[in-house]
Structures are given as structure tokens and as C-alpha cells.
């Protein structure tokens, strides 16, 4: 299987990587670019742990082919903070105790970022609907919903 040299735009930086057609975006992010914030949970697009933003919208990197991500702007959790300064959503998750084991957190935050960018001040129902594809097996949903809601309120 031939490797292809592709250019990926991740967190505002351009990366040239050699990939095989069956490499997923998640595999390339974690194994070639060292960005291990996105996690592999189910591997088949059900749990949301591998969520990244593609042109601003949450998508699942475990079922996205890396070759298919060419030409898009990919944002991972590593691209959210500004240096040592946490993104307001990250700070809010910490403040509300919305992180337990942390495995779902990067996906949750990225999904929430798009929701806040789109809706400004989403209702609890909108938050629940938006994160329906991000499973938290510690079941800490209440704190997560509060943490996201607090950022929306602040933006108001």
C-alpha cells in the first residue's frame, strides 16, 4: 500500500506527513504528530472520545481517513489554550469539577466549543443535545452541563 505525502492543517500549523490510505486522522494525530489529547474509545464512531473540530465543527477522528482531512482546518484540544492560559471552557471544567477520569474531556470541550461559538448562550437542553455523542462513563454529566452552561452565561 503506497504512502502518500499529505499536508494537514492542525491547530493553525501546517504539517507534512506520509500516510497510508487506511490511516485514520486519529492515528495520525496521536502517532505521527504527538497530539494525544484526542482519545480512542470505541474506535467505531459511537463514544465521541476522539472528537476534533474540522473547519469548526465537531467530527470523529477515529472514523475519518487522514487522506480525507486534507484541505480542512483541524483543531484538537491542544489548540484551544493560549500558552499557559486555559480556554474559558477548560477553566470552567476545572472550576466545576467536571473532570473525573478525563478520558471524555477533550471531546466534550471541543463539542461544547462549537456549541458556544454557534449559540452563544445555549440552554441546558441544547447542551444535552450537543453532547449526546460524547459518552462519559464516569457519568459526570451534571457537572459537565453546568460547566458548559457557565461559559455561555459569561458570554451573555
Amino acid at each position: 500500500m503506497e504512502k502518500r505525502l499529505i499536508e494537514l492543517s492542525v491547530n493553525g500549523e501546517r504539517h507534512e506527513v506520509a500516510v497510508k490510505p487506511n490511516d485514520t486522522l486519529l492515528e495520525v494525530l496521536r502517532e505521527k504528530l504527538g497530539l494525544v489529547g484526542a482519545k480512542e474509545g470505541c474506535g467505531v464512531g459511537e463514544c465521541g472520545a476522539c472528537t476534533v473540530l474540522r473547519d469548526g465543527r465537531p467530527v470523529l477522528s477515529c472514523i475519518t481517513l487522514a487522506v480525507d482531512a486534507v484541505g480542512s482546518d483541524i483543531t484538537t484540544i491542544e489548540g484551544l489554550s493560549e500558552g499557559e492560559e486555559m480556554h474559558p471552557l477548560q477553566a470552567s471544567f476545572v472550576r466545576h469539577g467536571a473532570v473525573q477520569c478525563g478520558f471524555c474531556t477533550s471531546g466534550m470541550i471541543l463539542t461544547a466549543k462549537e456549541l458556544i461559538d454557534r449559540e452563544g448562550n445555549p440552554s441546558a437542553t441544547q447542551i444535552r443535545e450537543a453532547i449526546a455523542g460524547n459518552l462519559c462513563r464516569c457519568t459526570g454529566y451534571v457537572k459537565i452541563i453546568e460547566a458548559i452552561g457557565a461559559v455561555g452565561d459569561r458570554k451573555k
Binding site: 502517532e31 480512542e40 464512531g45 474540522r54 465537531p58 472514523i63 453532547i131 449526546a132
Partner: protein, 329 residues
């Protein structure tokens, strides 16, 4: 990590419709047409399908747009992402039923990836077909895998996998047409006639054909319409049943009505008996009640997958009663 690597594959990216058709003609059943890949990639990871050539339709501009065609009829390309279907002003203003149905598909992330063409051509589902290669290594292949056993209905004579895409019933009551393209040109087929009822090959497509998109009828705001989906879990789940109803009232009685169900059988169904029963009548409690058995009848021998047939029939009854009463209120 990498518990489930994808198998070796080739990835083809045609840039024009002609190129796409040429690939499909050359590879036939050996290749899979890929929209968002949300169903295809997991199936490949689980080694459910032998396909190793993927043909992406994403790079083809004319299959990735929503536009008006002759007579103001909107065309939605097979490669349009569900999120864009939902948000497009033509759909959200004039075909809110389709937007509702598309919004009920899977989750936020999957709607940002999956396409309308993909939902339309979603392969029939079955808990056995989705098992891994390792699971199958010790068992005889089922009908869907080319064998002659059905694990869902023991002793069954055909594949009983279930058609479960949510946008289909909405497009059926809208009487949409599927645009099929191939080397011999294009043809249109009413969406109702597009499904075979054969779980092994649910879409009526030749080996060298593929779906280019969907044509909706001209907008008509004289209809009352509703969509309902019931699934075991509230989010990210395939339906036990999904139901779309569209009706036009004249005075106090039903002038025209269209009812479609999916998730209940090997193919989506149009409840023609129930439609005939309702036409010309007022929508009294009694009329609706008398129509319920016709809805169950339309579903035919209901699927055993996920829930018991008795429960699925009950869901159909309750959904139908609730939805029609809501439309009258």
C-alpha cells in the same frame, strides 16, 4: 490504541461526475461509494464487508450542493452533509419535515460527517452482521454474508436485516425521487420503489450505478406534517420505528394523506391501507383508532431485531395515534 486498524485499502477521489461513474463502472461491486464514511468505516474496521476500494464522492461539486432545478424543484446532492441539509434555507423553510428527520439521525458529530446519500443508501442492519471477523470465524455465514442461514429468525429463508435510516420515511411522504446515475445516463425513481426488501442488497441499484441525489417536489405549504422516532435510548441509536405523516385537510376532512414507516422491516413501508382509510374522513378519535390496525398491517411481519415484534407493533400504534392527534390539534 489501534485495536481496530482499518484493512489495507485504496482511496479514490474522483473530481467530476464522469470520473466517478467511470470508477464505479470499472470496479462495480468491488468498490464502495463513500460519503461521510460513518457507517462504512466502522464496517471496514470490523471486517464486515470485503470491499477494499473506496470511492469518495466528496470532491464532486455537483453532488455536494443543494440547488433548484426545473419547476423550482430542489435537488439535494448525495454528498451533502446532513448538518448542511438541516441548516439549508430551502430545507428549513420549505421542507421542515426533512430537517426534523435528519436531525434525529445519530449524534451531532455524525450529522457533521454523514451525508444524505449515505443515509438513503444505509445498509440494512442486524446485530449479527455487525460482529467482528473473529466472531464469525467459528460460525456459518448468514445470508448477508453470502451463506444460507439467518441468526435473527432461526430457520428463516432470507436475510431479515432491518432498514433503519430516519430520513427515508420523511422523503417517502414528500414523494421524493432518487436520482440514479450510471454509465448509461441517469434515471429517476420514486423513493418508494428504490428499496428491494432484500436485506442482502437493500437498494435497487445496478452494479455500475450509484445515487447522485434526491429531487424533492415543489414546496407546498398546504400540508400538515410530522415526524416521530422511537429508539431504545434517547440519543445515538437506531430506531425501533420511525414514522412520517403528511396530510392535507379540506373543511373538516382529510383530502390527502401520506404515511411512511421505517425501522420496522427489511424495507421502508408506505401505509397505503391506512392512507385510504383516512382519506375523506374527519380525524375523530374513532377514525384514528380504527386506522391503527391498518398501520400494523402495513408494517407486515415486523422485525425481531432489538425489541420483540409485539413491542414494536405497540410502538407503531402509539406513535401513529400520538402523531396524528398532534397534527389535528
Amino acid at each position: 490504541m489501534n485495536t481496530m486498524r482499518l484493512p489495507r485499502l485504496t482511496y479514490l477521489e474522483p473530481k467530476t461526475r464522469a470520473e466517478l461513474i467511470a470508477f464505479k463502472e470499472a470496479y462495480g461491486e468491488q468498490c464502495a461509494i463513500m460519503g461521510g464514511g460513518t457507517d462504512l468505516i466502522p464496517r471496514l474496521k470490523r471486517r464486515c464487508i470485503p470491499t477494499r476500494h473506496l470511492v469518495s464522492i466528496k470532491g464532486i461539486a455537483e453532488l455536494s450542493e443543494i440547488c433548484r432545478q426545473e419547476g423550482g424543484r430542489p435537488f439535494i446532492g448525495a454528498g451533502v452533509i446532513l448538518r448542511d441539509v438541516i441548516d439549508h434555507p430551502i430545507v428549513s423553510r420549505s421542507y421542515p419535515l426533512l430537517a426534523r428527520a435528519a436531525l434525529s439521525v445519530a449524534t451531532n458529530q455524525l450529522r457533521n460527517m454523514g451525508t444524505l446519500g449515505g443515509n438513503l443508501c444505509l445498509d440494512n442492519r442486524c446485530p449479527y452482521d455487525g460482529q467482528s471477523e473473529l466472531w464469525w470465524a467459528r460460525r456459518a455465514d448468514c445470508f448477508k454474508r453470502g451463506g444460507n442461514t439467518c441468526y435473527v429468525a432461526r430457520g428463516g429463508k432470507r436475510c431479515m436485516s432491518r432498514s433503519a435510516a430516519d430520513t427515508i420515511p420523511a422523503m417517502m411522504v414528500l414523494e421524493a425521487e432518487v436520482l440514479v446515475v450510471g454509465p448509461r445516463g441517469e434515471r429517476r425513481t420514486p423513493i418508494e420503489d428504490f428499496y428491494t426488501g432484500d436485506g442482502r442488497k437493500p437498494c435497487r441499484l445496478g452494479g455500475d450505478e450509484l445515487v447522485g441525489g434526491v429531487l424533492l417536489p415543489p414546496a407546498d405549504d398546504g400540508w400538515r406534517e410530522g415526524f416521530m422516532k422511537k429508539s431504545p435510548r434517547g440519543s445515538i441509536d437506531f430506531s425501533i420505528a420511525s414514522l412520517a405523516v403528511r396530510l392535507k385537510m379540506y373543511g373538516g376532512s382529510v383530502e390527502a394523506v401520506r404515511i411512511a414507516l421505517n425501522g420496522v422491516s427489511t424495507r421502508p413501508v408506505r401505509a397505503k391501507g391506512a392512507e385510504r382509510h383516512l382519506t375523506g374522513k374527519d380525524l375523530s378519535h374513532e377514525t384514528i383508532k380504527a386506522c391503527v390496525p391498518l398501520m400494523v398491517q402495513a408494517a407486515g411481519p415486523v422485525s425481531l431485531i432489538g425489541v420483540s415484534p409485539a413491542y414494536r407493533r405497540r410502538v407503531i400504534e402509539v406513535m401513529f395515534t400520538d402523531l396524528v392527534q398532534h397534527l389535528v390539534a
